[in-house]
């Protein structure tokens, strides 16, 4: 361990080189502050963008498999009879609706497919017209089991009126904007016309504002059974939506599901490649800035310690002449670097937390008129610890070279140099 001699010389150097010490502490504190600030702000922004994108959609979508066209020349390789193959006129085959028929059988398997699966929601979806009086508008009808689907999009929590969980056949739940456009309030009647012309009457059971444009505007929720009836899907569903506990693991979970299920399984990452690339680029930019900041802080500590070593050249020489070993001299300056980095952390971390708390308290009015915090800030204790460890490691590495130089001072040169 560090001896009393090493500790006392290092502490005394720092105490009596106030301006140099303060300068180094300032450099470390600013770099710690920057690490905490950048990671939290950019991390928060990324989280907000991701939440805004994925908040209203499943993390994983399980859909009927795509039908892959097969060329005539491939038929024999597939073991199909090609002797009776005739090529005649081109006909338009009726477009088959791709649905999942036996969804009740698959639901338990999906529920248990991965520990990260939080919710599985069977969904029917299709276009319909909503009529009320003379007003008519195309809407996306989504038939769901509300108790399950509330795990995909939090409708219940964002209700302005009525209910979502517990809705029954004949109920419709819709967004505030749509309700306003149609002049609807709770228990008002509205008519939905399916793609095949089937018309069903519904009663408004709930009105919500989620903040997600695609949910609040132009989408209505009905029960799964009503959705199947309106869209004439029989007992089938269009897809399963899956919400995970960790949305960033969606691609891994989806990959694990592909060989297990005879469906098309896609994560939100694949469905939003541009967003993912943008977030990735943003993350890399942030990391680059952090690396540069850390290096700059390392150079700051290193250059100041080089100055200290140069100014203490004679004293180092005399200490070595009196019997201090190169290792002890080296330890003195590494300890100084570590102490400066440590004090820098003690200053930088509270400053960083204060700055973040200040930013978290800011409120502004968004374009939708809602008062909201512009910065999504979660102070992560692990980040504070991590930033401190990075600063300490930087202090150790940066002080190593001047310390080594100090350890190599030749006492005879010092004596002769006088």
């Amino acid at each position: 361990m560090l001896s009393y001699f090493i500790r006392s010389v290092a502490f005394r150097h720092l105490r009596y080189s106030v301006s140099q010490s303060l300068l180094t502490i300032g450099v470390v504190a600013i770099s710690v502050l920057l690490i905490i600030y950048l990671r939290t702000i950019i991390g928060g922004t990324q989280q907000r963008i991701t939440q805004n994108t994925t908040g209203a959609i499943p993390h994983i979508t399980v859909e009927p498999p795509e039908r892959t066209p097969v060329g005539a020349w491939q038929l024999s390789s597939l073991g199909l009879d090609t002797d009776n193959l005739y090529v005649g006129e081109v006909v338009n085959l009726p477009k088959a609706r791709e649905v999942i028929e036996d969804w009740r059988l698959w639901l338990p398997s999906l529920d248990a497919v991965d520990p990260e699966v939080a919710t599985v929601s069977p969904i029917v979806t299709g276009q319909a017209f909503m009529n009320r009086g003379s007003r008519r508008q195309s809407v996306r009808v989504t038939g769901v089991i509300p108790e399950r689907h509330n795990g995909i999009v939090e409708i219940e929590k964002n209700l302005d009126a009525g209910r979502f969980i517990g809705m029954v056949s004949g109920d419709v739940v819709l967004g505030q904007k749509l309700a306003r456009d149609f002049g609807l309030k709770l228990r008002d009647k509205v008519r939905l016309v399916g793609p095949e012309g089937l018309t069903l009457n519904f009663s408004v059971a709930g009105i919500y504002t989620t903040g997600f444009g695609q949910v609040d505007d132009g989408q209505v929720f009905v029960t799964l059974r009503d959705g199947q009836s309106l869209l004439e899907l029989g007992g089938s569903i269009s897809s399963f939506g899956i919400k995970l506990t960790d949305l960033y693991d969606a691609e891994n979970v989806a990959r694990r599901m592909v060989p297990v299920f005879p469906f098309k399984v896609q994560s939100w990452v694949v469905q939003n490649p541009n967003l993912f690339r943008t977030l990735d680029a943003q993350g890399q930019t942030r990391d680059l800035i952090l690396i540069m900041t850390t290096i700059a802080s390392g150079f700051g500590i290193g250059s100041i310690l080089v100055m200290v070593v140069t100014s203490k050249y004679r004293e180092i020489g005399i200490l070595k002449a009196m019997g201090a070993t190169p290792g002890e001299i080296q330890s003195i300056f590494v300890l100084e670097g570590l102490l400066l980095a440590f004090i820098g952390c003690l200053v930088g971390v509270p400053l960083g937390v204060l700055l973040l708390k200040g930013l978290a308290a800011i409120r502004s009015v968004g374009p939708d008129g809602r008062v909201d915090a512009p910065f999504l800030i979660e102070i992560d204790p692990m980040l504070l610890l991590g930033a401190s460890l990075v600063a300490m490691a930087t202090g150790a590495v940066a002080s190593w070279f001047p310390a080594r130089k100090a350890g190599q001072v030749d006492p005879m040169q010092v004596i002769r140099g006088s």
Partner: protein
């Protein structure tokens, strides 16, 4: 006859710089006994500081053997030489080189501090007494920049005795002082040598001080004066 604290047996030193060889010392042999006060004199470039560095284990000879308290120390590695300096030798330099961040008392105790807190504590009363004896009793808590050159060098003399060394090596300790302060410091070293029984080896340009030493070792062109080339040289008594 007391056991020598330092013995040199046909010691030589040659510096190598690439292919260029620069011999500095040749066939130096003498010994120093406890409590002896020895002056090394010689012109500039004669090799006296090199000789002091070899005896002080700051450098290694290229020929011959050096023993400190009967132990062969000529070829010890750097770490062992550092420990030997710490435990058995004391140093005084032309410039005091006190550490400005520490008080006079702490500076005097610095060699003890290298050996641990307990040892430092055990030596503190003795060092306080020594500092009092050299007239620095009211400067114990003062930092070196607030002292005069003479006072600083007196503190450095006390520091050289901190570890109760077998021998103290002093490289022109009065060279940077006015004559009055120089005299004070020289008398102090003589007195402490006599009182503590510690041998002192002092390199000096001042013949007056040299003549007051127990013995003078005169060196010219890397050889002890009076010793023909190739013949091991001895010491020349000053009186």
């Amino acid at each position: 006859m007391a056991q020598p604290v330092v013995e040199l047996d046909r010691v030589g030193k040659t510096y190598y710089n690439g292919d260029v060889e620069t011999p500095v010392l040749f066939d130096i042999s003498f010994s120093i006994v406890p409590g002896e006060f020895v002056a090394i004199v010689g012109g500039s470039g004669s090799g006296k500081t090199t000789l002091l560095n070899l005896m002080g284990l700051l450098d290694r000879p290229t020929a011959g053997v050096i023993r400190v308290e009967s132990q062969e120390v000529s070829q010890l590695d750097e770490l062992s030489r550092a420990k030997a300096r710490r435990d058995r030798l004391g140093f005084i330099f032309q410039f005091h080189y006190l550490l400005p961040e520490f008080t006079v008392l702490e500076n005097a105790l610095m060699p003890c501090r290298m050996r641990g807190r307990e040892f430092e504590k055990s030596q503190e009363p003795r060092m306080r007494e020594l500092l009092r004896a050299v007239g620095l009793e009211d400067k114990l808590k003062v930092r070196p920049p607030q002292l005069s050159g003479g006072q600083q060098q007196r503190a450095a003399v006390v520091r050289s005795l901190a570890n109760e060394p077998a021998v103290v090596f002093a490289d022109e300790p009065t060279g940077n002082l006015d004559s009055k302060s120089g005299r004070l410091v020289f008398d102090l070293m003589k007195r402490l040598s006599r009182e503590s029984g510690t041998a002192f080896v002092m390199v000096t340009h001042d013949d007056n001080f040299a003549l007051e030493a127990d013995r003078v070792i005169r060196i010219r062109d890397g050889r002890l004066v009076g010793a023909p080339a190739g013949v091991p040289s001895g010491a020349i008594p000053s009186r």
